[in-house]
């Protein structure tokens, strides 16, 4: 069973609601769309209101609107095999639907410029270009190297130059000049937010864990959409205080926590609650994930804003090759002391599915812990079988429990 709800969630709702409502304000700052790990700090320093369509797509998935609207995008020629965030979002736009209506918006905010970073995938660029054509506005971005073994100074320089090259267009669209001091300030706030979010996630190393991956996917909202804003830092200070108090008083996110797991890959937004309940009813806490940790950017440095932004985007898990990814998961497995790893093979997100080049097999051997591969999708629920998912999870927990029992009996 899941434990008590976090009381900070009420503040989270206010913080996120205030952000969404600000996107609908008329006659205020220009709007920039930004991919989730794009150069948000630069956009904020130039005074843009920043909209993150991946966050919007996740809302469509969580509200289970996605499956209703995706076919509209498929009919436009966007395959059901490509990113279901993209097809959900474009489909919703064409259907005139958005969860932002709850915050007074009638549609997603119209972009004045769209800014991508391909460090995560090509789909963000294709996605933004659709809107760029729709609204006849500039689509600019960073074409990042991927599958990086070691991030070199040359890699950083290359991306830093690309970020700098965005500035003239961004200045022209916003009508503002980039102020170096302001950028440094935004990067400092972003770094602080990243640090606080990392500290929140780190509390789940405690036994019992005060919150889980499933809580984290909701709690990460400010780290995603309010990066570079003081509001995000304020929220995570209060969340951290609550989590530390839970650790001190041993309040468990999963009652009777016995098994601990690591999650790699995207969430299944439309099945978040069902999966959280599923694991919890087996006394199993999913205590850490690659996904929630992907919004921690320790490289950000106010003394060298653009180069540090470049380094942060290159050091990100999703941009790395198999070996550094495996080393990363190994560190997480040790830090959070987990019994097994769940890999989500996300049908329409190959770049965030680490199952397709035998990583689960290699890691199980390397770490001596079993892994489970769940076939599913971030938004397209046609790719997920509830029954099979449940049996897979229950069977995996049975296996881990039996192994533990036989070790204790030996």
């Amino acid at each position: 069973m899941t434990g008590p709800a976090l009381s900070s969630t009420a503040t989270l709702r206010e913080t996120m609601g205030s952000y969404y409502r600000s996107l609908g304000d008329a006659d205020t700052a220009p709007v920039a769309w930004c991919s989730s790990v794009g150069p948000a700090e630069l956009l904020r320093a130039l005074g843009y209101r920043v909209f993150f369509p991946e966050n919007h797509a996740a809302m469509l998935g969580a509200a289970r609107t996605a499956n209703r609207v995706m076919p509209i995008a498929h009919a436009q020629g966007y395959s059901q095999d490509i990113c279901s965030y993209l097809t959900s979002d474009i489909g919703a736009y064409l259907a005139g639907e958005t969860p932002l209506k709850a915050y007074g918006l009638t549609s997603v905010p119209r972009a004045d410029v769209l800014v991508f970073n391909t460090n995560q995938c090509r789909d963000v660029r294709d996605w933004f270009e659709w809107y760029g054509r729709q609204w006849d506005v500039p689509v600019i971005g960073v074409r990042s190297p991927r599958s990086i073994d070691t991030v070199t100074d040359d890699d950083v320089e290359g991306v830093a130059r690309q970020i700098e090259a965005l500035v003239p267009t961004l200045e022209a669209v916003s009508g503002a000049r980039l102020d170096g001091a302001r950028l440094a300030q935004v990067v400092a706030i972003s770094r602080e937010c990243s640090h606080l979010w990392g500290a929140c996630l780190g509390t789940a190393a405690a036994r019992p864990a005060p919150f889980t991956f499933f809580d984290g996917t909701i709690q990460m909202g400010p780290a995603v959409v309010l990066r570079g804003m003081e509001e995000a830092c304020a929220y995570y200070r209060s969340l951290l205080a609550e989590l530390e108090e839970r650790v001190r008083t041993r309040v468990a996110a999963v009652r009777g926590e016995s098994l601990r797991l690591y999650w790699d890959g995207m969430p299944l937004w439309g099945r978040l609650r069902a999966l959280a309940t599923n694991f919890a009813e087996f006394g199993t806490a999913v205590v850490a994930s690659t996904y929630c940790n992907s919004w921690i950017f320790p490289d950000l440095d106010a003394d060298d804003p653009i180069r540090s932004m470049a380094r942060a985007s290159l050091n990100l898990f999703i941009a790395r090759s198999e070996e550094p990814k495996e080393q990363y998961i190994e560190r997480m497995v040790r830090q959070f002391d987990v019994d097994g790893i769940v890999f989500h093979d996300c049908r329409t997100c190959p770049n965030n599915s680490n199952t397709r080049y035998a990583m689960p097999q290699r890691l199980s051997k390397r770490l001596g812990i079993p892994s489970l591969v769940l076939d599913g999708d971030v938004n397209d629920l046609r790719c997920y079988s509830d029954e099979q998912g449940r049996t897979n999870i229950e069977g995996f927990v049975e296996q881990l429990a039996d192994t533990r029992a036989s070790r204790r009996g030996a």
Binding site: S258, N392, R404
Partner: protein, 290 residues
């Protein structure tokens, strides 16, 4: 007079519901297979009653009933449940010494389960959300060829030409089949191609370690699958007794051993003492997690 102790397992599968009655030594006394249909609870009761009748054991002598299969939580008279992954492994481990790879091919899913030398399950893999590599694939092929699924194996015995059929997707395989029919290929060769396709799909699920054991309804009713698995892997493929009822057999062993269902396992560590209940009366604490 010694009081006999009997146990039952029910496997509520997607196509069929299987029931097995065992004695305390794991000896199978009676089995039954019924179509699952739309009412899983009724199918479970019918299969259970039929197995009891075949075993000639009164319901009152059953100490515990455990369920498995996708409908395991619908078997209202069960005292506990385990997943089919557990029960197939448990059943096979009763007959074959590990390490073992169990290949279970059912109506709507295929599973590969790895057991270590001690019979402990160490890994599993289920098919994707797709009918290729399962009994549904053979049903579709039989339909296209205009024969009963049960006649497919006999038809394949007359095959003389090796043909290839997609192992990727049941729908595409169906259209491929139509193309081959139009080009005059013989039904016997097409039936054999369907079996090869299914085996290829299963083979791609996992690397096989140790002895291979095949179970499931497809294995029970399509011996061609076993011979092709042997051919494909170049090794021995063991088919244990009652391959279709292996899940139910495993569940009956779980009932006998008092295997603790997942929700309780983490505290209780397999101590089944005091957990038995009378299946006939349904008295006793249900230990599953649904």
């Amino acid at each position: 007079m010694t009081l006999m102790r009997y146990y039952a397992g029910i496997d509520s599968g997607s196509w069929t519901t299987k029931a097995v009655i065992i004695d305390a030594d794991g000896g199978v006394l009676g089995t039954a297979v019924k179509r699952s249909g739309a009412d899983l609870a009724v199918a479970a009761r019918q299969a259970y009653d039929a197995a009891l009748a075949r075993a000639d054991v009164p319901a009152g002598d059953i100490v515990a009933v455990w369920s498995t299969g996708f409908g395991r939580h619908n078997v209202e008279f069960a005292n506990g449940s385990r997943t089919e992954l557990d029960c197939h492994g448990r059943g096979v481990a009763h007959y074959v010494r590990g390490p073992v790879t169990v290949v279970d091919i059912g109506g709507q899913d295929a599973k590969v389960i790895r057991l270590d030398a001690g019979g402990q399950r160490v890994a599993h893999r289920m098919n994707r959300k797709c009918a290729a590599g399962t009994g549904s694939f053979l049903d579709e092929i039989a339909l296209r060829l205009g024969v009963e699924t049960g006649a497919l194996d006999g038809l394949a015995a007359e095959s003389a030409e090796t043909l290839e059929l997609s192992s990727f997707c049941t729908v595409f395989a169906g259209t491929e089949l139509l193309t081959l029919i139009r080009s005059g290929k013989r039904p016997a060769d097409l039936a054999m191609a369907a079996y090869r396709s299914l085996v290829k799909r299963v083979q791609a699920m996992e690397v096989f370690h140790g002895a291979m054991v095949a179970t499931g309804g497809v294995v029970a009713h399509h011996p061609r699958v076993v011979s092709l698995l042997r051919e494909a892997t170049g090794g021995e493929v063991v088919v244990p007794p009652h391959p279709q009822e292996m899940g139910a057999f495993g569940a009956s062993l779980a009932a006998r051993d008092g295997a603790v269902a997942v929700g309780d396992a983490l505290d209780a560590h397999g101590n089944g003492d005091g957990r038995e209940a009378s299946a006939a009366t349904g008295v006793g604490s249900r230990q599953d997690v649904g």
